[in-house]
Symmetry: C2
Subunit: 163 residues, 2 copies
């Protein structure tokens, strides 16, 4: 593996490790427990399930990997705070949609070459990218990995200590 590929390999491993933790967390929580709030008056777990799925789905188009599969998640889970909009999915459906999005994204992420990771993402223009070459696909992967951990740190607070 050459040097470039070792950098992208490290970032993909980091993404996957974090995505797996989130998936295992939600698998360990019952449908009823998804109603738990991460703190009094704050987001419920079900909102974070939908929110993380919506963000992963947007990564498909942001990274130029294909059309989004689930834009219906945006209104309830990205544009609205928790409880403000009705989810179009039942909880079992939402769980399935989240798994589908994750699996599809993971396959697509693995199809990029190191050179493609350094190309611009779709929300930056060619002109701006010429001035700010750090606005590349790779930086999106890093920031979305951090975003997952941000919410993962919150989710675990709903579990009893040591669980």
């Amino acid at each position: 593996m050459n040097a470039d590929a070792r950098f992208t390999d490290a970032a993909l491993r980091s993404w996957k490790q974090n995505a797996d933790r989130v998936e295992q967390f939600f698998a360990s929580v019952s449908d009823a427990e998804l109603e738990k709030e991460i703190a009094p008056g704050r987001n419920r777990l079900v909102y974070l399930l939908g929110h993380l799925a919506a963000v992963s789905d947007t990564m498909m188009s942001l990274l130029g990997l294909g059309e989004r599969a689930h834009p219906e998640l945006d209104t309830p889970f990205l544009k609205s705070p928790d409880r403000a909009a009705q989810s179009p999915h039942s909880i079992p459906n939402l769980r399935e949609v989240a798994r589908e999005i994750d699996a599809r994204l993971w396959t697509a992420l693995n199809g990029l070459t190191p050179a493609q990771w350094l190309e611009r993402h779709t929300s930056v223009s060619a002109e701006d990218f010429a001035k700010e070459p750090h606005r590349n696909r790779f930086s999106v992967l890093l920031s979305r990995t951090a975003h997952m951990q941000f919410h993962y740190g919150q989710m675990v607070l709903t579990k009893a200590r040591g669980e």
Copy 2:
């Protein structure tokens, strides 16, 4: 900037962005507010301040960048849960120590070349590294960035919504 340097540049930017957020958060919190818990019965903010400083300090030795400056943080903030051990620092001192550690680490991180980022970290042996070349300095940087975000997601729960 060649391709290798663009990967390390992205990861360093991600580290700095997250470290700055954490620093600004703590700067916005009074000494009295550092006693707040992230959730009932969970870590206080002051513990997370010491914990993140201790982890950043260990990165110096883990990345082979120099001796640790503050091993006295380990017992209260890494090896013990919150409230189990006495901090050796007053709160103003702890704030200053955290800033020093961050600044020193940031300078050291910027001194590494892309090739050095792909070298092993000090807790993996040469034999193991030959088999598992992904256990490099770069992967430590990514995992510690994610770790910061994990706790940052918790800290922000102590602030009123929208603050």
